[in-house]
């Protein structure tokens, strides 16, 4: 076991996969000699050289397009879009090209492409560096969408993503970059499409994604002191969603809260609520609660973000209300 930060876990995953398979490439802004805008590719340029680790211009559309074309010709590219907020510049390549190529051509092409990106919720950088836009890609068939909440999950999911034959959107949480966890030294592979029960409980099912998982666990501690045991489920994969694990939990708890940094309308909370309703309606004692920031852009500054985003205290309050 070695203690790793979320950031180093990502680097390890890429390094291991690049060493394992020389078809793996890394492309993006500042990913090369600079080691990544957030340090998440440190050392890779030195190890694998400029052919396989390439700095791109600030050209988001072609960054993804390079990945699509390279994947169609036998490579396994990892491309980086620095912030998920920039997806509006490259969503055509993601949603119309990468996502649809296998389908369109009747399975004649594979699309082993990983699109790494970062969400900077809670960093106070303002409206263009704060959006958790998993809904945009979760709505697109052909894509897989992954949001790791711990270093080990990040490593295991990224390695699985790189080996996947389908395009995977890999969403890193900048506010988690320094989080530490012990990770076993051998191969770590976490399956895409499988939720993780981060803490078992019996009273309320709390589904939380990415950065919100830690808050849900903190809320669980507070509530446990009151004798309330929430079950914290981290879906880890947004699409395809492991609804079975969630339903099994709801069958036990009869109550659910979904905590997200993504906004409510058309958000992950709505999707989970709709699916719980569809498959577990008669297990529910109360409506599924969506805990999410209000429907506004994110202004500059931590003060606003603390106000807007779910916190452990807000989760505690929501659980208490749901049980009242």
């Amino acid at each position: 076991m070695t203690t790793k930060t979320y950031c180093w876990a990502i680097i390890d995953a890429i390094r291991e996969e690049m060493a394992r398979d020389d078809r793996v490439l890394l492309l993006g802004e500042d990913v090369g000699a600079a080691g990544g805008a957030f340090g998440a590719s440190r050392g890779l340029f030195d190890t694998f050289g400029p052919a396989r680790v390439r700095d791109t211009p600030i050209s988001e559309e072609i960054i993804v397009g390079l990945g699509v074309g390279a994947a169609m010709t036998g490579r396994r590219p990892i491309v980086e879009i620095m912030f998920m907020d920039f997806f509006g510049l490259c969503l055509d390549q993601i949603a119309n090209q990468a996502a649809k190529t296998r389908y369109l051509y009747g399975g004649m092409f594979s699309m082993p492409l990983v699109i790494r990106t970062s969400v900077a919720v809670e960093m106070g950088i303002g409206p263009h560096h704060s959006q958790s836009l998993e809904s945009w890609v979760g709505h697109v068939p052909g894509l897989k969408v992954v949001m790791p909440s711990t270093p080990r999950d990040a490593k295991g999911l990224l390695k699985s993503a790189i080996r996947d034959e389908d395009p995977v959107i890999f969403i890193e949480h900048l506010a988690l970059h320094r989080m530490k966890e012990e990770i076993e030294d051998g191969e770590v592979l976490i399956p895409i499409g499988k939720a993780d029960i981060k803490r078992p409980g019996r009273d309320v099912t709390v589904v939380a994604t990415g950065l919100m998982v830690g808050k849900a666990l903190a809320a669980a501690e507070i509530l446990a002191a009151e004798g309330i045991e929430i079950e914290v489920i981290d879906p880890r994969t947004i699409s395809p969603l492991d609804i079975d694990t969630i339903l099994a939990s709801v069958a036990k708890t009869n109550r659910a809260i979904v905590v997200t940094a993504s906004l409510k309308p058309f958000g992950f909370g709505s999707e989970v609520a709709a699916q719980i309703m569809q498959h577990g309606f008669f297990d529910l004692d109360a409506p599924v609660v969506r805990l999410a920031p209000p429907f506004t852009p994110t202004p500059f500054g931590k003060g606003f973000e603390d106000f807007l985003n779910p916190t452990a205290d807000k989760i505690v309050a929501a659980v208490r209300e749901l049980l009242a």
Binding site: L25, A51, R52, R54, T56, P57, S59, E61, I62, V64, G65, L66, G67, V68, G69, A70, A71, M72, T73, G74, R75, P77, D92, Q93, N96, Q97, T101, R102, Y103, L104, Y105, G106, G107, M108, F109, S110, P141, G142, K144, D164, E165, D166, P240
Partner: protein, 317 residues
């Protein structure tokens, strides 16, 4: 790869016959959807693709049949794909704007104007990493050259010296809008210099001119000297799609361009040279017509895909 003038002629005639007969089919209401005709641009596809091997990749557009046939896609499955039949090369699900064939390096058409350019660069990156001297060719229209994707592609291809041919078929119109109305500088090739790659404009209705320019660009690409932007001046005989009343241009202009017919020009050259007599060429024409007619019959006789097939291939099995 095919070099013999008669082979070039045969391939151009195949495209010509295909486009002509599809228009007839369309006029008889037997075609499902839009036809984006390649009529008039045959020398472009054939000039470029005749110099490519199966290992070389081609990225096409919404107006792709010329590229598919010139690159060697088998006629029947290509045709059946256009009609959305189960016997189509993609099972009839890709349709008129989208056929592909990885076996011969056709990476597909595109319904999004300009979107093939970044993908072409990605394929060229694949070829560069393979290191086997193969290239990628991205075809696109002059209308696409106004899209941001074009500029990003020129820049990255040049910066990385990718083995990429950027082939612009400048047929003067993007849908109903004349290219000249949307630009201050109408020479597409002139945009290359700003990004540090060579750009060349050639007569896209002269298959030999297209081949010469392509050969130069291929030599550069295969030698590791990077991409070239080729602008092929040509004309779309039909409307944007069949049925378009073409109000945006004059019948005189159309006649002038038809007088520069790429197929007729090649035929004249062949007849003037010693290669072939009229009978030989007529036989080629007849074979093309017959082959296309047979392929259309094949397509029309093929069943539609079972609708449930729509559920396949969303993800890898």
């Amino acid at each position: 790869m095919y070099d013999a003038p008669l082979d070039l002629y045969a391939r151009m005639m195949l495209i010509r016959a295909c486009e002509t007969q599809l228009n007839d089919v369309f006029a008889r209401n037997l075609f499902p959807g839009y036809i984006h005709s390649y009529l008039g641009q045959e020398a472009c596809a054939v000039g470029v693709c005749s110099l490519l091997g199966d290992g070389d990749k081609v990225v096409s557009t919404h107006r792709g049949r010329g590229h598919y046939l010139a690159k060697g896609m088998a006629l029947r499955p290509m045709m059946a794909e256009m009609f959305g039949r189960a016997s189509g090369i993609c099972g009839g699900r890709a349709g008129e704007m989208h056929a592909a064939d990885p076996a011969i390096g056709v990476l597909g058409g595109n319904g999004i104007v300009g979107a093939g350019l970044p993908i072409g660069a990605g394929a060229a990156l694949g070829m560069q990493l393979d290191g086997a001297g193969a290239v990628a060719v991205a075809f696109f229209g002059e209308g696409a050259s106004n899209n941001g994707a074009f500029a990003e592609t020129l820049n990255v291809a040049a910066a990385w010296r990718l083995p990429l041919l950027l082939v612009c078929e400048n047929n003067l119109y993007a849908e109903m809008t004349p290219f000249a109305d949307t630009v201050a500088q109408p020479r597409v090739a002139a945009r290359a210099a700003g990004y540090g790659l060579p750009g060349e404009t050639v007569d896209g209705n002269d298959v030999f001119a297209v081949r010469d320019a392509t050969a130069r660009a291929l030599a550069r690409a295969r030698a590791g000297d990077g991409p070239t932007l080729l602008e092929l001046e040509t004309y779309r005989w039909g409307g944007h799609f069949e049925g378009d009343p073409k109000k945006y241009r004059s019948r005189d202009e159309e006649a002038a361009w038809k007088a520069r017919c790429p197929v007729a020009r090649l035929r004249a050259v062949l007849l003037a040279g010693s290669d072939a007599d009229a009978a030989r060429l007529d036989a080629i024409d007849a074979a093309a017509e017959a082959g296309v007619a047979e392929a259309i019959r094949f397509a029309l006789d093929s069943p539609l895909p079972e609708p449930e097939r729509a559920l396949d291939h969303v993800y890898a099995a």
